[in-house]
């Protein structure tokens, strides 16, 4: 049984002041109506490819002192990999935001170069001490990037209208929770660095909470779209703040407590924080009630006060953060954090240059502390550029949310964008000692398969919402039944109406 696809509204016409006009003179294949946004995306994508290739060239120059054509080949290969994603956007989301994908590609390129750079340092150290050379993390990450591109294309191709996702909200909720529970199952779950977050199948390990995050958000957004009227209208007032009825809250609270509980059991502070923030923001946007923020903040405080004495690793993290340089801490509990800070300090304003610092001195330099590695070699300049790129992704995502014509799309895009922003904040803030350190990955940059695959899916969903938002409004019900323009663009539909 297949439902008829929801008809998509036609593309909005390009404005004359559009940047696209600049490239309008370029010869284009006849007969294909190239969407204007996609040309811009291609130009930016080429630029992202140049950034990544230059980074690799700088690294090679620092490492062996000369350049080779191999670098160009690798750069071209990297570009072609993501060009597949670009082609998919052309095919499946032609009106989507043109900035999101190239920024992601630039970040991914920088991440890959840094992971490769740390590989070089590791194999050099292994060579000097006579140990056997460890396997290349960059190669593994490249395979994961390929997988991420495939997932990206699949999401765009399968989710032709994000509204269809809302139909599977409850299924998604169940799948998400099961996904979170999987690592606890003996046999397939594994502990890495004290947190039981990973699934291990053969040589591959996967962190299901990264994907569960998206799936649970879909459930949450879908559920709230149905219930938001009840949640925001039927409420009791306590001390001037309007609170919703308990029975409307039930499923939300159950999902929230379940996911938080699981995360606490799994010892993953960072993801708990991420889920929590995601829930609060989506609830707030759905109900337009600031009281949710108040409730959320109170719950957070209660959670923090309860967790602190109960969980040793929470105390260690907080102590390492507050007293990073006191007593024995720099050589024990806050060792990683402090080494990362030394990396940032060594970078200064302009950085040491790729391949010329010592980022390998920091533990987990290519995963949790990759920002310290980038801060050391690219300096404050590079750090600010990277942060700005993340801000650009988040704001473009928020723009898609604002433009979305349906409540589900708005909630989904807001939730995804905010989660991304919060993840970057918790991750980078932790490494920079702005807040206590929690184990999260830096989206698109850190070494780690689940992270890049899940985040590629997030970008695909944001592009999907953005595509819907950037199309011209659907014709009003009282519009003329016969639109000559529509006929010329989609002749088959005329046949269907009979």
């Amino acid at each position: 049984m297949t439902r008829p696809p929801i008809p998509l509204p036609p593309l909005r016409r390009p404005r004359s002041a559009d940047l696209t006009a600049t490239f309008a003179g370029l010869p284009l294949p006849q007969g294909t109506d190239l969407p204007p946004y996609r040309r811009r995306e291609l130009v930016l994508l080429i630029f992202a490819g140049i950034v990544a290739t230059s980074a690799l060239a700088a690294l090679t120059l620092a490492d062996i002192g000369q350049l080779s054509f191999g670098i160009l080949t690798i750069g071209l290969g990297f570009f072609c990999l993501w060009a597949v994603a670009h082609l998919a956007v052309r095919r499946f989301a032609p009106a989507a935001d043109p900035v999101l994908l190239p920024v992601v590609v630039a970040l991914n390129g920088l991440g890959l170069v840094m992971i490769y750079r740390l590989d070089l340092a590791r194999s050099e150290a292994a060579r000097q001490s006579g140990a056997h050379i460890p396997p290349s993390a960059a190669q593994v990450q490249l395979v994961w990037t390929l997988l991420a591109v495939i997932v990206f294309v699949l999401v765009l191709a399968l989710v032709r209208d994000h509204r269809s996702l809302a139909r599977y909200a409850y299924t998604a909720g169940l799948v998400g929770i099961v996904g979170l529970l999987l690592p606890i199952v003996p046999g397939i779950g594994t502990s890495i660095n004290g947190a039981r977050l990973w699934l291990r199948v053969g040589p591959f390990s996967f962190q299901p909470s990264e994907v569960s995050k998206i799936i649970i958000l879909i459930f949450f957004a879908g559920y709230l779209v149905n219930k938001r009227d009840v949640l925001s209208i039927a409420s009791r007032s306590v001390l001037g703040v309007k609170f919703p009825r308990a029975r409307d809250l039930g499923p939300v609270l159950v999902a929230w407590l379940a996911s938080l509980g699981i995360l606490v059991v799994q010892n993953d502070l960072g993801s708990s924080l991420l889920f929590f923030g995601m829930f609060m923001v989506v609830l707030y946007v759905a109900t337009e009630r600031a009281s949710w923020i108040v409730i959320g903040f109170l719950l957070f405080m209660i959670g923090a006060v309860l967790a602190y004495p109960l969980f040793g690793h929470v105390q260690v993290r907080v102590d390492g953060w507050l007293h990073a340089f006191d007593g024995d801490n720099p050589s024990s509990t806050s060792y990683q954090l402090v080494q990362g800070l030394y990396g940032f300090a060594a970078g200064g304003l302009t950085g040491t240059g790729l391949g010329q610092g010592h980022p390998q001195k920091v533990p987990f330099a290519n995963t949790d502390f990759i920002m310290a590695s980038l801060g050391e070699e690219l300096g404050l300049t590079g750090v600010m550029a990277i942060l700005t790129m993340y801000a650009l992704i988040v704001l473009r995502g928020m723009r898609a949310a604002l433009g979305a014509k349906d409540a589900f799309g708005k909630l989904l895009a807001t939730g995804l964008s905010f989660t991304l922003a919060l993840q970057v904040f918790v991750q980078v803030g932790g490494v920079m000692r702005l807040i206590p350190l929690t184990g999260l990955t830096l989206p698109f940059v850190s070494y780690g398969g689940s992270s890049i695959v899940a985040n590629a899916a997030i970008i695909a969903l944001l592009l999907r919402v953005s595509d819907g938002a950037r199309r011209a409004p659907e014709p009003a019900p009282d519009a003329p039944l016969f639109d000559p323009g529509a006929v010329s663009e989609s002749p088959t539909q005329v046949v269907k109406t009979t």
């Binding site: 340089f325 720099p330 402090v338 300090a345 060594a346 001195k361 750090v383």
Partner: protein, 481 residues
């Protein structure tokens, strides 16, 4: 729904703004203090990539960097081994000491005064190198001082009284800093743990970091206070065979139960010449603890020498004293503690007509191109005694060497002024042997302080054990150009 979504967007921007501000604060604002954290091994690693400047004593390189073929480009060496270890210090993978530590910015090439040569390097493409530190040490004097002290524990400091320049500074036992600078972590840490675990404390620079009871050498300060109070060298002062200490049943005897003068009184000059304990004990009681303390502080007690580039301990004169303690302090016992550098500075001040010069160890800083960046000009530290008193003290100290306890410091054809000390410290150990003095006494070129800890293991006086060392050091200083 757009209104709250916009607010969420603003909240996201605030998060990013916080990160950006924090990044600036971390990488520019705090960078300096983070780089100087003791647990930050990155700085030193980075600097092993460049050629660190040498430390010179005259023409002798006491520390230098040579190209190495391991994971770093340059290896630090100390060609003279243990002879200058207390001055150069060491530069390890993790930490640094001595001049290597205090002159680090220049030696590493990070000194702002090297900016001009750094700009040149930028254009000529040469790698950044460190500047040169030239010390005031005269290698010949240093060598003689170390040989004269031999294997005995102790220290020698020789100063140029007219400038305050340190001509020699020897501590014994010493250590070879080269293994500490090894690029092999294990070699370095093993060498360090052996040295730091050694009971003889070879890493301690006894010349400036260790304080000792000054014994009878402190009588110079008591005598200075007496002269300042109007006494004359030929005045007769009480000098009983045994001094009854006030507020105490104890008695202060003379060394070896000798008799001073006629057994009742003695002249001030003769009391110093034979180092009469009872005379100076009584003198201290008469002058009072405050007068002694003021005189000691005028010479630099209870503070350290400003700007001196090695770690110093403070020489102390007790803050409160009763009568008996005053008498004991006046002869350099009780809780009076001095560094050998402080006693050398006392002798130098007397030699320099009462003006105490600020001791200094670094005479000149040079850029990587060999050009002088700065030269130390001698500075007065104060005038603890008048010129007249300095002259009277000089006469009294000459008498110590010509006819008193310091005869073993005599040099043929040169008039020498000095004072011996035999400092009791606890029970069971032989006393410390001291000699402080200067030569030639009519035109002083060198002032010395010598301490041989526990008399080098034999029971003997400062005159017997320390004076011969001082003699050789002064002789070497007068012989060297």
């Amino acid at each position: 729904m757009n209104r709250p979504a916009r607010k969420v967007a603003v909240a996201c921007l605030v998060l990013f703004a916080a990160l950006l501000v924090n990044a600036n604060w971390l990488q520019v604002g705090q960078a300096g203090s983070l780089k100087n954290q003791p647990t930050n091994g990155r700085q030193i690693t980075e600097r092993l990539e460049r050629q660190r400047g040498p430390v010179l004593a005259g023409d002798v390189e006491i520390a230098r960097s040579v190209p190495s073929n391991d994971q770093y480009k340059f290896l630090r060496q100390y060609p003279a081994g243990k002879l200058y270890a207390n001055i150069s210090g060491y530069y390890t993978l993790f930490t640094a000491a001595g001049l290597e530590r205090s002159q680090d910015v220049l030696l590493s090439g990070d000194d702002d005064r090297l900016l001009a040569s750094r700009v040149t390097e930028l254009f000529t493409g040469k790698e950044r190198r460190g500047g040169t530190v030239v010390t005031t040490i005269k290698p010949a004097v240093q060598q003689v001082a170390a040989e004269a002290l031999g294997d005995r524990k102790g220290a020698v400091v020789a100063l140029d009284p007219s400038t305050g320049a340190v001509l020699a500074m020897v501590t014994s036992p010493s250590y070879d800093p080269t293994p500490l600078a090894s690029h092999t972590e294990k070699t370095a840490t093993d060498a360090y743990s052996v040295l730091s675990g050694d009971k003889a404390q070879p890493l301690l620079n006894r010349a400036t970091q260790q304080t000792y009871p000054p014994g009878s050498t402190f009588k110079l300060i008591t005598a200075a206070a007496a002269l300042a109070a109007g006494r004359k060298p030929d005045d007769r002062i009480a000098a009983p065979n045994s001094l009854a200490l006030p507020q105490s049943t104890a008695r202060l005897p003379n060394f070896d139960n000798e008799t001073c003068g006629d057994g009742e009184t003695d002249t001030l000059i003769h009391a110093l010449t034979i180092s009469c304990n009872t005379a100076f004990g009584q003198l201290g009681i008469d002058l009072g603890g405050d007068a002694l303390r003021q005189q000691a502080q005028a010479f630099g007690f209870d503070s350290t020498f400003p700007g001196f580039p090695l770690q110093q301990a403070r020489s102390v004169f007790p803050a409160t004293l009763d009568g008996a303690q005053t008498a004991q302090s006046a002869i350099g016992q009780y809780n009076v503690r001095v560094t050998p550098l402080q006693m050398a500075a006392v002798a130098a001040a007397i030699a320099n007509g009462g003006t105490e010069m600020k001791p200094y160890l670094v005479s000149e800083l040079r850029g990587p191109d060999g050009k002088t960046i700065s030269r130390t000009s001698p500075k007065g530290l104060g005038k603890p005694i008048s010129g007249d008193i300095a002259g009277e003290l000089t006469t009294m100290m000459e008498s110590v060497v010509t006819s008193g306890t310091g005869r073993k410091a005599q040099i043929d054809g040169v008039s020498v002024a000095g004072k011996t000390g035999t400092a009791e410290h606890g029970t069971g150990e032989p006393p410390h042997a001291w000699f402080v003095g200067f030569a030639p006494s009519d035109n002083p070129k060198v002032a010395v302080a010598v301490i041989v800890e526990d008399g080098g293991g034999e029971v003997g006086t400062g005159g017997a054990i320390a004076a011969p060392v001082a003699k050789q050091v002064m002789q070497a200083a007068l012989d060297s150009p």
